[in-house]
């Protein structure tokens, strides 16, 4: 029997903000790669935390603090399951992917990078997977190397193999490109890197909203996600590190909750994950992210994937049929992201004009200026789809883009 199609209209009702209007028109939210909307269960869970459980974690001996700690650690366990990590202690709560990468760059870099060592990234990284490595490389006298990509936006894997050298200390790669949508061959990348003894960090910010992640199946050493891109609150994210890797890392920030003993002469540090969670964490954010993960786990993922692939194919067809529209990022394996330009029309003008039709898309360099330079464009417009988007959304986008082309024709 064929699988029932994914009912996007039904899940839309779970997201209060999708019912809103802008400029008197229904909101067509197509900026999911920037941030996603939140289902009611996430909003309600966050409110419930503040109304019934709020206290500091890992500190009080009183009942309320135990409740808060239980909620916080329960969220960690949900995150472990979502990423298919082996142990909850391999999950560190952070502010988001940016902080997760900065944490690894700083702690791993200070311990492992020597002058002349190399860190390998790719041509399609988000600035958050470029700049932290530039900072630590400059500090340690190390060199940043970049795996190039094709005009379709696919990594040149032969070049990757060639760049893995004796001085390579770490490879940091996006799972899914935020500006091109490319899904990178992570398992292959990890296999090649590990064959040379090189650990791999994967920026999963754009992957987690589209699929449950299997960090053990992928074999990664570090994996990072942002809660707000996967239907959870802002200001919360996850760093996964294997127990062995996290155990070997020095602390990132110092403060409360990350210590075993403190004297003025000497401090000893807590085991992971506490070692990397200095200060009072974003407890409500973690609990809200746990609710988002519960929501995601309730979805029929094969059906979600088929739905998003249909949206990608339909949007690609509709937009490329408009005269003057050029698409960027045409990899064989893509997430539901469509980056495009209209000949003679700057992306910001496209953004303003489609906004008048209620359509929210991102315009600019998408924090990937090297990608824009590679394609020789100052900016693109980007429609990025989540499972709650529909073909009707694509139709409204396409007619709004036609209108933008007409204003400047």
């Amino acid at each position: 029997m064929p699988r029932p199609a994914f009912d996007a209209e039904r899940v839309r009702r779970d997201f209060p903000l999708l019912q809103t209007t802008v400029h008197g028109k229904p909101l067509i939210y197509l900026d999911n790669a920037a941030t996603s909307q939140k289902p009611r269960v996430v909003i309600a869970r966050t409110e419930q935390y503040y109304t019934t459980e709020n206290a500091n974690v890992h500190r009080g001996v009183y009942e309320l603090s135990e409740r808060a700690t239980a909620a916080y650690e329960d969220a960690r366990e949900k995150a472990r399951a979502f990423l298919n990590a082996g142990r909850a202690s391999e999950i560190v709560f952070v502010r988001g992917t940016t902080e997760a990468i900065n944490l690894v760059a700083s702690s791993f870099g200070r311990k492992e990078l020597e002058p002349g060592d190399e860190v390998l990234i790719t041509a399609m990284e988000h600035h958050s997977n470029i700049v932290p490595w530039q900072l630590i490389c400059a500090e340690r006298g190390a060199t940043l190397r970049v795996v190039p990509m094709s005009r379709r936006g696919e990594l040149l894997m032969d070049e990757f193999a060639g760049l893995l050298g004796p001085r390579t200390k770490l490879a940091a790669v996006a799972h899914v490109s935020n500006s091109l949508g490319t899904i990178n061959p992570i398992a292959d990348i990890v296999r090649q890197a590990h064959a040379r003894g090189v650990p791999v960090l994967v920026d999963g910010a754009q992957a987690a909203p589209h699929q449950p992640i299997d960090v053990r199946g992928l074999g990664v050493d570090f994996y990072t996600v942002s809660g707000h891109k996967m239907f959870g609150p802002t200001g919360i994210g996850l760093l996964y590190g294997t127990a062995e890797r996290l155990e070997a890392l020095p602390p990132y920030q110092g403060g409360g909750d990350m210590i075993k003993t403190v004297t003025f002469a000497r401090t000893t540090y807590a085991d992971p994950p506490a070692r990397f969670e200095a200060g009072t964490p974003n407890i409500a954010g973690a609990v809200g992210l746990g609710a988002a993960i519960d929501y995601l786990c309730g979805l029929d993922w094969p059906a979600v994937r088929a739905h998003e692939e249909d949206l990608l194919a339909y949007a690609t067809d509709r937009l490329s049929a408009i005269p003057g529209v050029e698409l960027f990022g045409t990899a064989a394996h893509k997430a539901s992201v469509v980056s495009f330009t209209i000949r003679g029309v700057h992306a910001h003008d496209v953004g303003t004009i489609v906004d008048q039709e209620g359509v929210a898309i991102r315009t600019g360099h998408h924090c990937t200026q090297p990608v824009m330079d590679f394609f020789g464009v100052p900016a693109t417009a980007r429609a990025s789809f989540a499972f709650y988007n529909t073909r009707a959304d694509v139709d409204i986008l396409a007619s709004a883009v036609q209108k933008a082309a007409k204003v400047f024709s």
Binding site: H23, H346, H348, D349, T352, Q356, G364, P378
Partner: protein
């Protein structure tokens, strides 16, 4: 409700399509770079001064229609003016762009630049229109010959 036709008036669309003085000067007296790092608009503006008078002006760069048209209109408006007159025009345009939508615009002396008034209804786009003007001011206030022609 903001009206697109106020933003993309014909004169704006036309100056974006065929920007005036989109050129590099052979002998610039002063110049400056301007950029909106968050949206990626970039402009390089050069002026040639004879004493205090702007005898030639050119800009290059890339950006949205608003920033390109604003730069094009700027070059036409300040050509032949003194630096002080150009500064006065900067203040008038700046006041117009940052005034409340719907507030009366004092178009006296603004000429074609009044077409930029529609930008007020689109607050996130105001910085696009003002970028060339800030760049002009930086150029006029830069040290003479501080900018090379490479």
């Amino acid at each position: 409700m903001a009206d697109l036709s106020d933003l993309y008036q014909q004169i704006i669309v036309e100056h974006n399509r065929s920007p005036r003085n989109f050129k590099k000067l052979a002998h610039p007296t002063r110049g400056a770079e301007g950029a909106n790092p968050l949206c990626g608009d970039q402009i390089r503006l050069e002026v040639e001064l004879d004493g205090d008078r702007i005898t030639d002006i050119g800009f290059q760069g890339s950006g949205c229609a608003i920033s390109q048209a604003s730069a094009s209109l700027l070059t036409g408006a300040v050509h032949g003016k003194t630096a002080d007159e150009a500064q006065a025009l900067f203040r008038a345009v700046h006041a117009m762009l940052t005034s409340a939508p719907g507030a009366p615009v004092d178009t006296a002396g603004l000429g074609k630049l009044a077409a930029l008034a529609g930008v007020r209804q689109f607050p996130v786009r105001v910085k696009c229109a003002s970028l060339p003007w800030h760049t002009l001011r930086a150029a006029l206030e830069s040290k003479a010959k501080a900018v090379t022609t490479e």
